[in-house]
Symmetry: C2
Subunit: 316 residues, 2 copies
């Protein structure tokens, strides 16, 4: 049975029942679920003060469970980046721990790439948001659940999605997968925690950000030379922002067009990822292949099973 | 009589009457007011497409009026930064043009420092927001107006404000004044338009940004080494954000405390600047002296009159 530890590295959990429900469901899915001692801690809007949350990260890294699943995002991880002992985090990953989450976890995942290139964490669900939802509130999304189970078993080696057009038919690219939440990623620019990935596959999503703000961040990445240096950009969901009467038709499609007009790098849309119910698991920091045929896009990588097999092969 | 040209470099003007009212009032204040041909242009949410707005900037630079006052901010200047001919802008300033505005103008003002160190623009009012308000909506703020008139005449050589505490009693610092809107400034990080100011006086404001987002940006600047490299940081207004039940008491004071706990650089608050009615004019890019006595802070610089006198002195 896989051990799975729930921890809260950023914002405090408002309702403990969501955590309990998530823990119960994850146990029903076959995990041996543990809840970190400070998962329900509170300090202002944070799940405990910085020292508390930092200690939790290191405690989990040292325990190295099969899965370290964040309960929720919010804001708090960039506060910790300067103090994180990346060796300890790396040690847990080398011992098989899969760290999972999205949103604010983007800071941890990309900070890891900056400090320990070659290791990966998982961009995927959050316990409270994705496994803690009451049935009345929609329950658990089946695709999200199944993809998570497959990824955590080590068997997941590809995710597919349908792009809105066939404009990228025939595209093939290989590179390090990185990115996540656009605002959180941009908050690393200029800091020692920025992953200087060249030739990578950059995936991005955001929520409640007006398209002009999304565009401003995308153009910042372009002006910083980041977009041009990538093999491809994959855009997930960018919804939730209130429209303004000032928009006069301007929307996310125009923001994407503004980016595309400024770069040769393919900018794909339609990645099923973001602050939406159905989200895939993606290995942030791993080398990934992108294939597009017509509108069908596939992101593929060497699963742990294959890697193990390759290692076996190597030994004999 | 001083010539003053109104132009719209970013978001479109929703109501032409605000522009007319501003033009009328500025004429009553003694300016020979001109309105740029494309000041009321519209393309999506912008005041004309990028080529239109870029052409307007260059047209005004070439005409070199005494004052080039932006009608409003919004979003749009970072779209133009890669294409701006900084030589032409610099030429206008060397011929006496005072460029004025705030909010999105932060991109232009700090881009100028990045490309043409030593020249200054003015962080100050926007025509529609500050001179175009109907009497029913509060009319024109007298302090804002008087400070603007003094700055535009070349006589303004200091602004004072009262800090909330006397914690910085005795502080004296001299450095290049830079900054403005925090979100817009941070959107320059990592790009060629970032002004690499060391030993400066960094002033910051923002609107409608939750304190946790303000904090995230302040910590980004700190982690990027920007805050530690400054002689002082001056914080203006940070209001307008909706509080959240998740805050549990966390607010802007905690964001400021988080920054202060991470740097030796003095972080002052209380600067009368931001998206508020009463705002001072500040020479962005100029060398400025900061003196604090008790709670009273003064930012002083060589006025044009003094500079002219110094030049005279030099000649004889």
């Amino acid at each position: 049975m896989s051990s799975l530890t729930l921890f809260t590295p950023a914002g405090a959990i408002a309702k403990a029942e969501n955590l309990k429900r998530a823990a119960k469901r994850l146990a029903q899915l076959g995990f041996e679920v543990g809840i970190d001692a400070d998962a329900l801690a509170r300090h202002q809007r944070f799940a405990g003060d910085d020292a508390t949350r930092l200690a939790a990260l290191h405690r989990i890294a040292d325990a190295a469970p099969s899965v370290a699943l964040a309960t929720r995002g919010g804001y708090g991880l960039t506060r910790l980046l300067d103090q994180i002992d990346w060796e300890r985090i790396a040690h847990s990953i080398e011992h098989g721990t899969r760290w999972v989450g999205y949103s604010d976890l983007t800071a941890l995942q990309n900070g890891l790439i900056a400090h320990k290139k070659g290791l990966a964490m998982w961009s995927g669900p959050l316990a409270c948001d994705d496994f803690g939802r009451s049935e009345a509130d929609g329950g658990v999304d089946e695709v999200t659940r199944d993809c998570f189970l497959e990824a955590m078993s080590g068997a997941l080696e590809a995710v597919g999605f349908r792009a809105p057009t066939a404009d990228f038919d025939g595209l093939e690219a290989r590179g390090r997968l990185w990115g996540g939440n656009l605002t959180v990623l941009c908050s690393l620019l200029g800091t020692p925690h920025w992953p200087k990935v060249k030739g990578g596959l950059l995936f991005l999503e955001d929520i409640n950000e007006h398209p002009y703000r999304v565009e401003r961040m995308l153009l910042q990445l372009q002006q910083a030379g980041v977009i041009d240096a990538q093999a491809a950009v994959l855009l997930g969901d960018f919804s939730g922002a209130a429209k303004s009467p000032l928009d006069r038709g301007y929307g996310i499609k125009d923001a994407v067009a503004a980016l595309r007009s400024r770069t040769q790098t393919p900018v794909l849309t339609g990645l099923p990822f973001g602050h939406v119910r159905t989200k895939v698991c993606l290995p942030v920091g791993a080398t990934v292949d992108l294939y597009v045929q017509g509108r069908e896009a596939i992101l593929g990588w060497q699963s742990d099973a294959r890697l193990a097999h390759a290692h076996d092969h190597h030994h004999h």
